[in-house]
């Protein structure tokens, strides 16, 4: 558990008298973290996940919501997610790293959402996924406007 970068010896010394050695160690670790993140950014430049296509979206939705039939599927214009309709539910994928986060909410909430600057903001009401923001050219979809 804890103590990944500091020594328990130091931890055992009287608190809150944080000693200089531990602080220096922490600072070096923080610099190392920044360097590793920078390296990851450099090494993965131009190698992000490809834009979400329909086949991939359907495969993800089938894994995340097994057995749910899709009545419609709308991909985000920037390929970073999608909205699908299944009966009265909206199934939503949003890009996270090289994968996706999936959530479902009532379809009515999604169809009522409006476009702002080409982005559809859907509140998901979940601490781990507060909202989905999807680039859409038009909303609600024409085929459902009737």
């Amino acid at each position: 558990m804890g103590g990944l970068f500091l020594d328990p010896e130091g931890e055992r010394r009287q608190l809150p008298a944080v000693n200089a050695a531990a602080l220096i160690q922490f600072a070096i670790s923080a610099i190392a973290v920044a360097a590793m993140v920078g390296l990851a950014a450099l090494a993965t430049r131009g190698r992000g996940a490809p834009p979400l296509d329909e086949a991939t979206a359907r495969r993800w939705l089938a894994d995340e919501f097994p057995g749910r039939a899709l009545d419609g599927l709308w991909l985000a214009a920037d390929g970073k997610g999608c909205v699908a309709r299944s009966d009265d539910r909206a199934l939503i994928l949003t890009r996270m790293g090289h994968g996706y986060a999936a959530r479902q909410i009532a379809w009515a909430q999604v169809s009522a959402a409006s476009l702002q600057d080409g982005r559809l903001r859907i509140p998901l009401g979940d601490v781990t996924a507060p909202r989905a923001i999807l680039a859409m050219t038009a909303w609600p979809p024409k085929e459902l406007a009737a």
């Binding site: 558990m1 328990p8 994968g99």
Partner: protein, 304 residues
């Protein structure tokens, strides 16, 4: 005997190997999937967890020292047999700590952080909780001090286990020779542990020895026909580190506020437990998955 911290000693090795994994993957020399935001969250979780550890380490170590003063036996820290014994005792303790951390929501709230990446690489190993001390699972190691293992010896062995578990967080190593896979926790076994595929959920709790999972019925080998998909049953939709660190605690608080009379279930039920069973627990997901293996998919049924 002079004590030391294996984790501190290993930290330069952690840094060098993460760098190597990133660089070698970049040039196609090994398999590793890094993503910048994900790596930043994992490493920052590790960095801050070392600070969070400072706050509770004093209290937990003091508890161990107090228990040790009332010990049953006196086990010498200088004897080889004592180290052999503490190796097995600590590893068994780790197995149950880890299993409890997955099976009860209050402890999952702390451990979930280690599992919330959809990636699996060496940086994932450093994705450590900030709230382990608060969750109190360190108490599980107190019986070792009561038996008579010096608290420093237990602390060193815990560190050895953590360092061991570092290198298994990689996709670069596929399978090791059979005798090793049979006895030790390996990259293959631990990939299963980090997977969200229903058949892989809540399996392979091992620290160093996989034999505990084989003994207690929680072992699942990695199958060639089913590649692990990493992360949580409901993956995070944010890289906000405060949400990443505390989301399950917030979830528990929200549930208790909504329905206080179910407080025991919210705290000590399985992760995903709810009074009406409407949410997903691993047991439910496993059962649904098993049912799908024997029943035809809905589309085929509807057509028939």
């Amino acid at each position: 005997m002079k004590t030391f911290d294996p984790v501190t000693l290993a930290t330069p090795f952690f840094i060098i190997t993460v760098i190597l994994e990133i660089v070698l993957a970049r040039f196609g020399k090994l398999k590793a999937d890094y993503e910048t935001a994900d790596t930043a969250v994992s490493l920052t979780m590790g960095l801050i967890s070392s600070l969070a550890g400072v706050i509770t380490a004093g209290a937990s170590f003091a508890a161990a020292v107090w228990i040790y003063q009332h010990r049953l036996f006196t086990i010498p820290m200088t004897a080889v047999w004592a180290w052999a014994l503490v190796f097995f005792a600590e590893d068994l303790t780790y197995y149950w700590f880890h299993r409890l951390s997955h099976e009860r929501r209050i402890w999952w709230a702390a451990h979930v952080n280690h599992h919330s990446s959809q990636h699996y690489n060496l940086s994932t190993a450093l994705r450590q909780t900030w709230t382990g001390g608060v969750a109190g699972t360190w108490a599980l190691w107190l019986p070792l001090s009561f038996l008579g293992f010096p608290p420093a010896m237990v602390a060193i062995e815990k560190g050895v286990s953590l360092v061991y578990q570092y290198w298994i967080h990689t996709e670069a190593i596929r399978r090791l020779p059979r005798p090793i896979e049979a006895v030790f926790n390996t990259p293959s076994h631990h990939r299963v542990h980090h997977a969200r595929n229903p058949r892989y959920l809540d399996r392979n709790y091992a620290g160093i020895l996989i034999v505990w999972d084989r003994m207690f019925g929680t072992f699942q080998p990695e199958l060639d026909e089913e590649a692990p998909r990493y992360g949580l049953v409901h993956n995070l939709g944010t890289f906000n580190i405060v949400r990443v660190a505390f989301h399950e605690w917030i979830g528990i608080a929200q549930d208790i506020a909504r329905s206080p009379r179910h407080i025991l279930g919210w705290l000590f039920g399985a992760p995903g437990w709810s009074p009406d069973g409407s949410r997903d627990t691993s047991a439910k997901l496993k059962a649904e998955w098993a049912a799908r293996q024997t029943a035809p998919p809905r589309a085929e049924r509807d057509a028939a």
